[in-house]
Amino acid sequence: MAQVVPFAEEINSLNTDILAVSFGTPYWANVWLEETEAPFPIWLDPEKESYEVYGMITSKWAAWGPSNLWFYAKAFLRGEKTKGDRGETGQMGGNFIIDKDGIVRFAYPSKNPADRPEVAKMMQVLRELERRG
């Protein structure tokens, strides 16, 4: 999510809204919005049905594998703090672009917590959608 925020205005200018989805509680969703100042809404799916249907991975190994441990080790060395148990460590996230007609134009279920899609690729898809009109 953090890698998208700096591009939010440009994304919006490409006839595209941004929506965060979480399986967290309304309380933590409000805390998250205050802390991140994310300029887009968050909707909730406590049963994680959308995570299942959209193919998000659940894997304890992915969460605690070497690449993720290295990711958090670097964050620790930078002095960043983790936020406890505001989620489920084995649940991965993902990014999807749906066009205005409801067609999937980009699908990226993350393989591990440190795995993020390149913003440039998502912007390329959005610019192409804008070009087509």
């Binding site: 998000m56 649940q91 999807f96 699908a107």
Partner: protein, 44 residues
């Protein structure tokens, strides 16, 4: 686990707002605009 493919119709599901009001996911793209959906793994 389902695999979503580029080009397919996006599945629609019932979610809720943070005010706990029910809302259809399709409302995110049913307004003439595209949507980038970010599924979060935690709220941190």
């Amino acid at each position: 686990m389902a695999k979503i493919k580029v080009g397919q119709i996006a599945p629609d599901l019932k979610l809720m707002t943070k005010e706990e009001e029910p809302i259809q996911l399709s409302q995110a793209w049913g307004n003439g605009r595209n949507v980038l959906i970010i599924f979060l793994r935690h709220l941190a």
